[in-house]
Symmetry: C2
Subunit: 410 residues, 2 copies
């Protein structure tokens, strides 16, 4: 690897990512979509200016760890405890129904195969991609409408957080089957083993960090130790437990999410993330995709994937919402609010590509789902609320919103 | 390169770097020395936990660009214009005398060779390493003593900045001779060519950034475009002009140093720098050094190198200070204030290693010089000032100090 080309690649990647990210935002699409398009333009599909190489892959890998660590840090454990049962049930339905529907969709296209076969796990992985909700766009719309902290709004936010946790569990288990000799018992044992270790290590680290944070608040050592924990736990998870590294990063984030300085850590991660590591990750996804290899069959699959992805969330969450006592329009609002997909779906897909459970051509489907859900959700939510007569704003409550920070990134 | 080992390496490097950096600071030595020692401990000399590899080298390279870009950003052009002639003369003497003394020292040890030979350029490079002043420790001491903005203090600060600029010019020219077929005329032509390009590009970019900065102050795009400029100019400098990439990064920093948001850019670079890129660079230096390969000859050379390094700055700057009208103790204060070395000496050495003008064993000498100068300067400055009866503090003036930010990092 030429040292100089590193400088050139990074310069080109960050400037293109920012430009197309901003362009996407101006067109009301998520910034990450713009960054992926930047990758498509720079890569084999078009300009051929930048090629994936070991260095960019390493940077992208750290970028994913930073993103998942951030997601973990932004989890509010007290809010989870408070909203409790209803949100958990909605989240479970919001994971389970898309998982099943996605799996069946793949089987309809490429044939049913017996449980445990390679083909079965590929199908299951398509389902797994559909589990990850990303509510930052929903939060933004609810805020504009002044609905972010009413009962429905709080339920959506909490369900989305729990959805993340369950989604990561599902991913952990599904990925563990990448080794064909894996047995379900082994996988569950390893998963439990990792979480037991994480709880013990987490308790120790939390105490250490709490002590450090009291003694030296807002010092460089706090985010540095946090980042080292995230990287270390990612390494240990994958190396010694056969569990995806991103699970380790996410768990590290949850461990530190109750620290006084958790927001401080998150801000520092954010700077690292948006300057170099994040853009390189999203651009890499574009670089790995060669548009010319797309054919009608994958386009048809993508359209079905988007429809199934959107409807399965709306139906799963909405139906469970109704069972939990929400009525009429509110059940639809919950369903639509939960249907947006974002970064996490891409991170999950990237993991699948890495372990050979997903072909890179399916990135097209995932990107399309992100674009469609991000455009449809605001429109549908505004339509649903516009019929609402009771339109008083609860803007005062916004300050207490734990997910506020995530909007900035969107 | 194994993807997982990337996570592990970075986790170990940043945690060790921070720990030993803090330990060094507690022992009144510079943090960077602690970080290098962390590398020595982790590397082939002792634990063998981390090995240099392409990925770490790439990260370290970006780290150097960030550090030099920061150094450029912290340059205050208005202050340079104001202090003018005296500071420039002192800086020139502070570059020239150490350059000559260092060259002669190497020749005394390893033989005189004709001008233009490989051996001559190795000697010249040892002199070049001695040119780089790093006044952050001096600034810290002057602040404690309340002397940072009196006439002598201002002269030291300005001379140090000009010293950086001249030092980079000297380095640029010396490094250009790495190709044995280089002729002095070519080198000067290329150097002039680069600076003409930098001035034209700089003017355009400065206008663009000023417009962006007025329209979107404190947005992510400002530091991202700045970083892309630094990386891009580094690439262009080395690729098309045969000039060290760090010169490009430094020039990019100077171009943007007059922006309203230059401090904002610098803060964002700082976060990136201290979390991952900076520690990896300094630890890499330790990783490249195998203590076991050190023999008496290099230790003897190191001791002489330190003595020559310290005295040549004190004599050069002090003598020129006297010629400029400073009297008695003040000339010594100027000399001692200018004699500290830091990051830049290491960055210069690393460049020399890269192009084959320096053997890695001389890192020992440079590290020793940094340690000795950092410990001696505060002691000597306090002694020199303690004889001073006029001890009133000018603490109010500290807020206006442009170099204030650099202390935080020390």
């Amino acid at each position: 690897m030429d040292k100089l080309s590193v400088l050139r690649d990074i310069a080109i990647v960050i400037i293109f990512a920012k430009f197309f990210g901003l362009l996407a935002r101006r067109l009301k699409a998520p910034q990450v979509v713009g960054e992926i398009i930047a990758g498509l333009i720079l890569g084999p599909s078009l300009l051929k200016w930048v090629q994936t190489n070991d260095f960019l892959t390493g940077i992208a890998e750290i970028g994913v760890i930073l993103l998942m660590f951030s997601a973990g840090l932004e989890t509010s454990l007290p809010q989870l405890k408070k909203t409790g049962v209803k949100a958990t049930l909605i989240a479970c339905a919001g994971v389970f129904i898309p998982l099943v529907c996605g799996t069946i969709l793949y089987m309809c296209f490429y044939g049913f195969d017996k449980v445990g076969s390679d083909q079965f796990f590929r199908a299951l992985f398509i389902g797994t991609i559909l589990t990850a909700t990303s509510v930052s766009i929903t939060v933004q719309v609810l805020k504009e409408l002044g609905k972010v902290s009413d009962e429905v709004g709080t339920t959506i936010l909490s369900a989305a957080i729990i959805d993340d946790v369950i989604g990561i569990l599902v991913l952990t288990i599904v990925l563990s089957f990448k080794d064909p000799s894996s047995k379900l018992g082994d996988v569950i044992l390893r998963t439990i083993g990792f979480f037991v270790l994480a709880i013990i290590l987490g308790a120790l680290f939390y105490k250490l960090m709490k002590w450090l944070d009291n003694k030296y608040p807002h010092t460089q050592r706090i985010p540095i130790i946090g980042l080292a924990l995230a990287l270390g736990l990612s390494f240990v998870a994958e190396k010694y437990f056969g569990i995806a590294d991103i699970t380790g990063a996410y768990v590290a984030g949850i461990i530190l999410s109750s620290l006084d300085d958790s927001k401080y850590i998150d801000r520092k991660m954010d700077v690292n993330s948006y300057m170099i590591f994040g853009p390189v990750f999203f651009v890499s996804i574009g670089l790995q995709t060669d548009i010319k290899s797309l054919d009608m069959s994958i386009l048809l699959f993508s359209v079905c994937f988007v429809i199934v992805g959107l409807l399965s969330k709306v139906i799963g969450c909405g139906f469970m919402g109704r069972l939990c006592g929400y009525k009429g329009k509110d059940t639809l609002i919950i369903g639509v609010g939960m249907m947006t997909r974002g970064e996490v779906a891409l991170i999950v897909s990237q993991k699948g590509l890495e372990v050979g459970m997903l072909d890179s051509k399916y990135f097209t489907s995932v990107i399309l789902l992100i674009i469609c859900s991000s455009i449809l959700t605001p429109i549908l939510l505004k339509m649903l609320y516009s019929k609402d007569s009771d339109n008083k704003k609860d803007s005062n409550a916004i300050e207490n919103d734990p997910i506020k920070n995530s909007i900035k990134k969107a």
